[in-house]
Symmetry: C2
Subunit: 584 residues, 2 copies
């Protein structure tokens, strides 16, 4: 049966041996005293919560869905109690400032926490998913009065939070937003407008909901430079209900346990967070972390799909395999895990999940270093790394998560198409992660057009140097160097080609993001190989773990090593004209 | 809003100009008098039924689903009336023998009919989907008594039919089946056993249901050579109910309008169809047509996804495009159809759908020639071609259909994740086509291990000669010839490599199938280009159609031409050892 086994062993390997995070924490005063064992204990407890509390609610929550009635939303059975336990466990405050009631742990551990939550129950995780962003936003931009009133309760998770951005006619293009905010005599604003796709806009998990709303002040310029951010609570400080209404919840492909709300603000009272017309900048502060967290959802989907597919394949017997392990008993049918097509799928899922974990955790570590390293040069380099890694992690891992779940479904054959097996829900739940927090197409444009080309690839070159250094000592180091070099040449070609054909990078952006992603995955695996070999050389007890790791590193190089050249060649192909379409 | 526009113009182009089918029909006495206009009229009527009767039931049927109560199944509102109209229109009998009440039209037209039905409403189409197979099976193998009693009603569709193969422990491996059939004094058999995943096992569309059941006679050998086929009606000739029970219907990812039944046969009365222990052979007769029809479902998904995505993209405005058509008005936001990433998705969907249509219709035409050409050599060549094309059409088009729908969803952004948009249902509905009628992994093994390698690639070589001839005169003919040559060399390598590593072709099968598929798609597009150029040279009136066709042919060559080399290189990569997995 479907269940979730937190990959604690692999997480510890990545955190301690691949990233050498404990040594990095020792450099940062904010993480003084944090060591490998403490971190492992935090993750073990988080894993226990994910596996024992959240995972059992996942399938039933998908069937029950959320119910809307007269503006109130009821979440699936068990969701509220699980959320109370989550708050009592102190999990929302894991990576928050101790001065605000947080635990002050690294983003890296928060990343591992959210990977596990999403793997166990993505729908439920949508509710606390925006808390940390709201915390950061209020922490950095709110007035002392607003902080006083809201920050502690958002930090602890006692009150949940939303981000109200999208309107029916304005999704990727926030410049088209129409919601308006009019100043009131008491310094507050009256917020009026309709928002859609608001995750957790209404629910029964917390007594109050803190909405962060993008709106336009009277007289503000059109476009994204006229947007302001307002805090609009569901319940006013005096206990009365604010003029915020949930008109409906969406009937979605997946994430049925998460209430996706159509919200109507009818002159609702709100307070400005940050400067007028600088709302998008205030929100962008939390963008890297938010996008990283979406990538972690993809990683969770990949992990949980792969481990369940493996368990099923080891049990299900169908036909004889063309080859069997030595000493295997003869039978009329072999476990399908012995069949080559199934083996290839399972190795792929494992190689993608473990490589993806290194990639995502690299990004989380970069956020910690950017925020907390005492050396300014280190902080700046880490910030650059995070800026480039984030869109790759977001787009690549959500795609690998969704495609991986879809591929895993095939391991169950027809049984995979049935709800009770569990995998079809992951296919449905995972799809939206490719869209929200900036669609993957937008991530690709952000990467290539905003972050790589403007400086002629200089910042990217530093990332590639860093990635190449990670891969040093690996058995295929030379081929990796060639791959990184090919990527540099690709950037040079794009820089040059853009002059005569400014549209080319837009056509090439998606393949370019994947090319960079594949190069980084290859380096992540090279680094993992080096770490595993070192552990074996030092006589580590857990030899089975490290030997399996080396097998997957070989699989990555041999079977998946064609992805980078393929993507580079697609970038080249996209030089060809792409005409406008005849429309019907 | 979501709707389905039958691609009649393109169908006529493929049937008349690419396949030159009317000339082929003229050679075959069975199709005497059938001309291009008659065929076009048949398709126009079929398209009208699909678009006007079936398409409106598709979304509501997904929401309503099927209801099971005390062994009875209620289909979604409107399904029964639509089915009555389908029978009254004579559609089930389209390609059946006139002597049995059929209309005697080619499989090619039946293929186009089923493409449209599946595109409009895949769930509903599951009910008549097995009728033609049952017809062929009874037509070829049933005793005169059985034919007398059942054939006319199955031909007309008055009674629907099922194929009862799968059991809980026996899916891909039918040799494991346990359902048994015991002879009775009157020559009938008592059938006992449990079957799962029986499409249309119970429903309210027809008064009787004719089950074709694979079972094992007492004393029959184990494995697939001990299976017999039995006809087991729901209602006995005397009007009493047979001992056939529907115990449950499955809760599935998609196709919710189609009742997927768990069936229990409790000593139900049945009659042998064909020879004892030759049940699988009797069923294999209809395998090519059945698999082609599943491929057509994928084609339908691709077509309907692409056309709806294009309509939406032409209406939805979001952000400015980096480039615009000359003379386009300045606006704060452009229709997303102008954005390069969206354009690329839409061109891809169109190129895949139109190329896939040529490929699928080639296979249908081969079935007609194999059955009806007066020249035995032509029949045999067509049979060989159908044998090779069938697994490619089934696996490749169902994959393109599902992936295409999934990619199309992104055109709607967050709106695509909502049920009312329509596209998320196609993503869910399309997934199972990759599994049933022999999973795509099994199609790949069938192609490479059973049909290509045993004769050292001789039969495949003939197909490649034929495909190369199709592409003659195209602008990229030389590159296509190189591609076909690379495919031949790949087969040679596989033949040689198999001697020392018999598992290699199993590891390579999936990539090999795709390589062949991509080569055939490229030839299909080359042929389409030649036909379009010829029409333009002859001064065809409909220049916009042909010029758009040429644009898509260029897109295929420029943007998608990398797929064949990529797959060939993956075949080569799969020489690497693929170890058994450490299991948990």
């Amino acid at each position: 049966m479907w269940h979730y086994e937190p990959p604690l062993r692999d997480m510890r390997f990545v955190v301690d041996e691949v990233l050498a995070a404990p040594a990095a924490w020792a450099r940062m005063p904010a993480f003084e005293g944090l060591d490998s064992d403490t971190a492992a204990e935090v993750l073990a407890q988080a894993g226990k919560f994910a596996a024992e509390v959240l995972a059992p609610l996942n399938g039933p929550g998908d069937l029950a869905g959320c119910q809307w009635r007269d503006g109130e939303v009821t979440t699936p059975p068990g969701y509220r109690a699980a959320y109370q336990a989550f708050v009592e466990g102190g999990w929302p405050a894991l990576a928050c400032d101790p001065e605000c009631g947080g635990q002050g742990l690294p983003q890296l551990l928060n990343a591992a926490l959210y990977e596990m939550l999403a793997a166990a129950n993505h729908g439920w995780t949508m509710y606390p998913g925006l808390l940390h962003g709201a915390y950061e936003c209020l922490h950095a931009h709110a007035t002392p009065e607003l902080r006083e009133r809201y920050l502690a309760k958002v930090t602890s998770g006692e009150w949940l939070s939303t981000m109200c951005l999208t309107e029916a006619h304005a999704g990727s293009d926030l410049g088209l937003l129409r919601t308006k905010a009019e100043p009131q005599a008491d310094g507050s604003f009256a917020v009026t407008g309709s928002k859609i796709f608001i995750s957790g806009g209404e629910h029964d998990l917390s007594d109050n909901i803190v909405h962060l709303v993008l709106a336009r002040l009277a007289g503000a310029p059109m476009g994204t430079k006229g947007l302001s951010l307002l805090l609009v609570p569901k319940v006013m400080p005096d206990g009365s209900r604010n003029a915020v209404h949930c008109d409906a919840i969406e009937k979605k492909m997946g994430l049925k346990g998460s209430a996706t709300c159509a919200m109507r603000f009818e002159g609702a009272t709100g307070w400005l967070v940050g400067e007028p017309n600088r709302g998008l900048a205030a929100m962008f502060l939390m963008m890297n972390a938010a996008r990283l967290h979406v990538g972690l959802q993809g990683l969770g989907h990949l992990e949980v799909s792969g481990q369940n597919a493996l368990r099923y394949a080891a049990e299900r017997a169908q036909s004889r395999a063309p080859r069997r392990p030595e000493g295997a008993e003869a039978a009329v049918a072999d476990p399908i895990v012995l069949h080559p097509a199934i083996r290839r799928t399972l190795w792929t899922l494992q190689a993608r999940a473990e490589g993806g974990r290194v990639l995502a955790y690299w990004a989380a570590q970069a956020l910690d270093e950017a925020a907390c390293d005492p050396d300014e040069a280190v902080r700046r380099a880490a910030e650059d790394r995070a800026a480039l890694l984030t869109p790759v992690v977001k787009a690549l891992l959500t795609e690998l998560g969704h495609e991986g779940a879809d591929q895993a479904l095939g391991v169950w054959g027809g049984h995979g198409y049935i709800h009770e097996t569990g995998i079809e829900q992951v296919v449905r739940d995972s799809r939206v992660a490719m869209i929200y927090e900036g669609s993957n197409e937008i991530q690709a444009i952000d990467l290539l057009l905003r972050k790589v080309l403007p400086d002629g690839g200089a910042r990217l070159g530093q990332l590639l140097d860093w990635a190449g250094a990670q891969a040093e000592g690996a058995s295929n180091a030379q081929r990796l160097r060639q791959g990184l070099q090919a990527l540099r040449e690709c950037v040079d070609a794009l820089v040059e080609g853009t002059a005569s054909d400014p549209e080319w990078p837009y056509r090439a952006a998606d393949d370019f993001l994947h090319a960079l992603g594949e190069a980084l995955l290859a380096c992540a695996w090279a680094r993992s190989e080096v770490a595993a070999k070192a552990a074996l050389a030092e006589g580590a007890a857990d030899t089975a773990f490290y030997e399996a790791k080396l097998q997957r590193a070989r699989f990555q190089a041999e079977y998946l090593g064609g992805e980078l050249p393929r993507r580079l060649s697609s970038v080249e192909r996209s030089r060809a004209e792409l005409p406008f379409l005849p429309t019907p």
